[in-house]
Amino acid sequence: MTPLSSQATPLDTGWDIEQKEVLNALGRRQGIDRWFSWLALLAVVFSLFVLVVLLVDVLIDGVPVLNWNFFTSFPSRRPAEAGIISALVGTIWVMVLVALFTFPIGVGAGIFLEEFVPDSWLARAIEINISNLAGVPSIIYGLLGLQVFVRILFPITQGRSVLSGALTLALLVLPIVIIATRESLRSIPSSLRQAGFALGATRWQVVRSHVFPLALPGILTGVILALSRAIGETAPLITIGALTYIPFLPDLSLRGLQSPFTVLPIQIYNWVSRPQADFHALAAGAIIVLMVILLLMNATAIYLRNRFQK
């Protein structure tokens, strides 16, 4: 490096203006800089590498079991005959039910907080409450579900049923939907609301016909993310006692709501925790199915977000 020529006299005695030494020291400092930037890059690369290893490992173990029987068979003690039909159907049941509960409730609560009582003590109190709920471990929701839905509301839910599971998960992901709704509504310019009021519409009419349709894509994105969180959850469903061995599919009726159930994560947990390698392969197969579902949902959410962001 070329030294910069110095003014004749250094001004303070403490400074070592000897060019060479300063430049050498700077060379060392820049060396540490380079080393550190590589380390930081390495951290990111390592995290992504782990993701890749995880996916490849699951694919290698799981792809061989993915055949028609795997999708159409009930679980079995014999690995060769076991499949995920009841878990897959259970996951779909739970997903639909959670969507049915969280969409109206979460969106309604979001609209109430954002459109009817913004900046009130109630909105603030609920906001703090929601951010606290987000930090509660999911297994605690399981204990709540066990007490409230499985035991207290037994006459309605018939205990450890798909209804109890869906209600538990709905409470777990409700904050996600409420927050997404509020953020989405907040992004709608208020001039639109004033235009509606100027035409003599009530607040609800304005929200329903002017604001809500514009906010819908953002809300749907939030709902999808909430659902993908819900169908990946295992712990709360174990706590409320979702069974693993379900050799039947729930009826498409009210009675179906009250039947015992299993879902993909629970089936995966069960198969992983068995000692035999054959079951581990089944678990890997079920993981592939679960991850594909999650990926599709996330892709939909991203598509919605990009498409309506204009």
């Binding site: 995290s47 409450n129 992983v272």
Partner: protein, 311 residues
């Protein structure tokens, strides 16, 4: 005679159902208000459902014994409920997780906000989000069937179930949380501070360590505490990979049982409601809830402190 000063519409074409509108408006407010209250009711429900069984539990087991016993043997004829045993396992797995997640997450956050080009950043952030979206049961599979056998190549005495691989994989799982929240904090540091540091002849790394990180400190601390809370409450990874052996101590190579793993174990068994074992999972749940609540409150406080500095 009407008090309305506007003349009546002679043709009667405009008949807004004002009465109906008002009624709908009121119904909507009440219904949606009720929905909003559900989130508050959830909190109350959690506290109450934990509280009732916990009170029952402590009528049989004294709080003193719960806090000081050094054994956790709920199924013995002379059962002992020393929460320290489960706490030590939770502490151990969380500690290992943080030893992995804090450096990985912080370095990733620094790379994303200070080094990566905007284009690269646009790709890396969603990739980290995928990592955050992987269900924990999948991480459990990974810990038990891939990481443990891999580590056993280097550590022959490592058990098939152990705190080490559960902790490491949990660390990977919470890395995106630390990375994303810390990145927000680092990104929010005004660039004027960086300029000030560069103008004094400091290098990029010196600027990051000397100026940017200290300025973002409370936000970073908040993200780490939130990660602690997540690690303490994490269930599936430890239930699958750390084992179900209540053991007091901090040996990472042997099977242990965390608080969450205990709740899973009892839930999987056929424990009748009302029994002391059933009540014990609520006492453990209460401990877990209070612990995470404390961490969340501290984290909240740090976030607010961070905001106060810049807003």
């Amino acid at each position: 005679m009407t008090t309305n000063s506007l003349p009546p519409d002679p043709n009667n074409l405009w008949q807004p159902s004002r009465g109906l509108n008002k009624w709908v408006e009121r119904a909507v407010i009440w219904l949606f208000g009720l929905f909003a209250i559900i989130s508050v009711a959830t909190t109350v429900g959690i506290v109450l459902s934990l509280l009732f069984e916990t009170i029952e539990f402590f009528q049989v087991v004294s709080l003193w014994n719960f806090l000081t016993d050094r054994q956790w043997t709920p199924l013995f004829s002379n059962p002992q409920y020393g929460i320290l045993v489960l706490l030590s396992a939770t502490f151990l797995t969380s500690l290992i997780a943080l030893l992995v997640a804090v450096p990985l997450g912080l370095l990733s956050a620094i790379y994303l906000s200070e080094y990566a080009s905007p284009k690269l950043r646009k790709w890396l952030k969603p990739a980290l989000e995928i990592l955050a979206g992987v269900p924990t049961v999948v991480y459990g599979y990974f810990a038990l069937l891939l990481v443990t056998p891999f580590l056993q190549l280097f550590i022959p005495q490592l058990g098939g179930f152990n705190a080490l691989s559960a902790g490491i994989v949990m660390g990977i799982a919470i890395t995106p949380l630390i990375a994303s929240l810390s990145e927000d904090a680092i990104y929010a540091v005004p660039s004027a501070l960086r300029d000030g540091s560069y103008a004094l002849g400091l290098t990029k790394r010196e600027t990051i360590f000397g100026v940017v990180l200290p300025a973002a400190l409370s936000g970073i601390v908040a993200s780490i505490i939130l990660a602690v809370s997540r690690a303490v409450g994490e269930t599936m990874i430890v239930a699958l990979a750390a084992g179900l052996n209540p053991r007091l101590g901090l040996n990472p190579f042997v099977p242990v049982m965390t608080m969450t793993a205990y709740i899973v174990q009892v839930s999987l068994g056929d424990t009748p409601a009302g029994s002391i074992a059933f009540q014990s999972i609520f006492a453990v749940g209460m401990t877990l809830f209070l612990l995470t609540l404390i961490f969340n409150i501290i984290s909240f406080w740090f976030v607010r402190k961070f905001r106060e500095t810049y807003e």
